[in-house]
Symmetry: C2
């Protein structure tokens, strides 16, 4: 039976994770879940971000379900670098998977795009680029201060994520992969990405390909999101593009993600794209759909495709039945989703 | 009398620049314009991108009006790094100014945003960051290949562009500056940007401030573009965000930009945000509005505020009178804009 580590985290994290677990329990009775107390609260209480012993324990699970970590009271970077990115890097979660669909019933912000028309997945590289943490500064707080950030890219890291994107495209209907980078300015990394992309593309003559600069892709995600199927891109570009994709498909309240180690050497981690939203925490009004969809990605990754499909179908029913403007109650949504998933 | 260097460039560049000059001549008779042949065509013919002698000549002008450079037949980076970025860096054009307005008459893609509601300007840093050209690669085309790109940021460069943003906000109605960065991941550069922002903000207690991560800003530009007044950000984030801002305000066919050296030590350069669009080049159907609005920014920079206002008013009339779906003729639009500007 699947052994899941649960990091509910801060803010609305515990509220939405509770619903995701409710739905998981409904579709896959007997999941063993162990809770780990990590995030802003623990840091404030103990000064600890992610003790080595906890990292080792987490490694023993089949997957991690994460709510949200972070709080304005914690200095920027402490939990991001020390916890979230630490897990992505330590567990070699190089496929950061972010699907975006415009679900029927959801009123997106784009006047010209109809529900059902957008169904894309961004395969964001998760272990390299500007997220490597290579940077520094000199002469801090003087007029001579200089600060650097370095993007590190390897053939190893680029090729494996591109291969994953092509494999995914091969299992989808439209069979198209768009590479997004900024080859005209970031010529060294851009060249590595595009040469590697061309090599892998040549092995997949049945899959259509295109290349776009990141600025153009950011624009087309707004004017023509229908054109995308699978998008593969680097860590930072993926961070930005997936928030645009979320925005045009109804907001980050619905956006799920999986930080995946495809080989299964380490556990993969599943988390809503949204943050801890301290402004609405504790009120029971956070939308748990992103967390529930993340749980569906978890199920898929662990080989429970049928259970995942039931969760997705349940979300479809939920979203189609919503009345715009009516405030939802987190728990009630969770109850409905769990009920539909086993109906 | 103003001495302008004109780089019409490739693709639709010459077509739209001709209209911008028509309008300039109408509102400011006697402008002296010298044409420079630079871009893909010259590179193919002579192998030259930007000879030193031309750079020196350009430096002797009051401003540069640029159409578009680039063509798919030129390897990525050659014209971008060798010409466009070379000019921005050599002429220390550290304020890359990109206004976005949803003009009355223009149907943007957002269902909930009405014309007149969006009026923002992105002050994009133009001489630092990942555009510095600091990067390299090793073991090219082997499994061991590694490629780097380095973002270089100085207190000098960050402070001057932030000061410019606050000065601009002080001349606007809403008086608000939003800093966009990614301080939670790019901790070194992010810290430099946010500490410097706080110092400058403290000197401007009359100006409202906020901070957003770049992924959140990319999202809010889609869901709530009305919230922005002046946005200040680094070179790469500015590249991406301004294309989103263009997308939500009717597309890059309307987006103008100025690469400004505020001190006037070097000429500033004005260019539409769109590229050379080889697919529609030579057909006389490119929209010259972005080039004409760029000419208005040029007029403003050279102290001809009244002439600039007339060009903007002329664009307002043109856009309000357009019928959606009717293909426009570049020359006719130019004629109308010139006529309205002096009516
Ligand atoms: C919180 C932050 C470190 C993270 C990222 O930048 O990857 C978040 O924005 C995300 O997209 O998961
Ligand atoms: C062509 C390219 C080098 C340029 C940039 O990245 O700055 C363009 O995208 C722009 O926004 O002016």
């Amino acid at each position: 039976m699947a052994r899941i580590a649960v990091v509910a985290g801060d803010g609305i994290g515990p509220e939405v994770v509770a619903q995701a677990r409710k739905v998981l329990d409904a579709v896959l009775p007997g999941v063993q879940a162990t809770e780990y107390d990590l995030g802003a609260a623990r840091w404030h209480r103990t000064g600890e971000v992610l003790p080595d012993s906890v990292l080792t324990e987490l490694a023993g699970h089949d997957a991690i379900l994460l709510g949200a970590v972070g709080d304005p009271t914690v200095p920027p970077g402490v939990l991001e670098r020390g916890l979230l990115l630490k897990l992505r890097f330590a567990f070699d979660q190089y496929v950061n998977l972010r699907p975006s669909r415009l679900w029927p019933g959801v009123a997106g912000p784009l006047g010209n795009v109809k529900p059902g028309e957008v169904d894309l997945v961004v395969v964001r590289e998760g272990t390299e680029g500007l997220y490597a943490g290579a940077g520094g500064s000199l002469h801090r707080d003087t007029p001579a201060e200089v600060a650097t950030e370095e993007s590190l890219n390897t053939r190893h890291g680029v090729e494996r994520v591109i291969r994953d994107a092509f494999a995914r495209a091969g299992r989808r209907e439209r069979r198209k992969v768009t590479l997004v980078h900024k080859t005209n300015v970031l010529t060294h990394a851009g060249s590595l990405w595009s040469r590697t992309f061309d090599v892998v593309a040549a092995e997949h003559p049945d899959i259509a390909t295109e290349y776009q600069h990141v600025d153009a892709a950011a624009m087309f995600l707004v004017t023509q999101p229908q054109r995308y199927d699978v998008v593969v891109t680097d860590n930072l570009f993926g961070d930005i593009l997936t928030d645009i994709a979320a925005a045009v498909t109804g907001g980050i309240g619905l956006a799920a993600s999986g930080c995946i180690n495809p080989e299964g050497t380490y556990p993969s981690m599943f988390e809503p794209v949204h943050g801890s939203a301290p402004d609405i925490a504790g009120q029971g009004i956070a939308d748990p759909v992103a967390a529930v969809l993340s749980a569906a990605l978890l199920l898929e990754q662990l080989g429970h495709a049928e259970a995942a499909a039931r969760v997705n179908a349940s979300v479809a029913v939920e979203l189609a039945s919503r009345t715009p403007g009516v405030t939802l109650r987190t728990e009630e949504v969770g109850d409905r989703l769990a009920a539909h998933a086993v109906a």
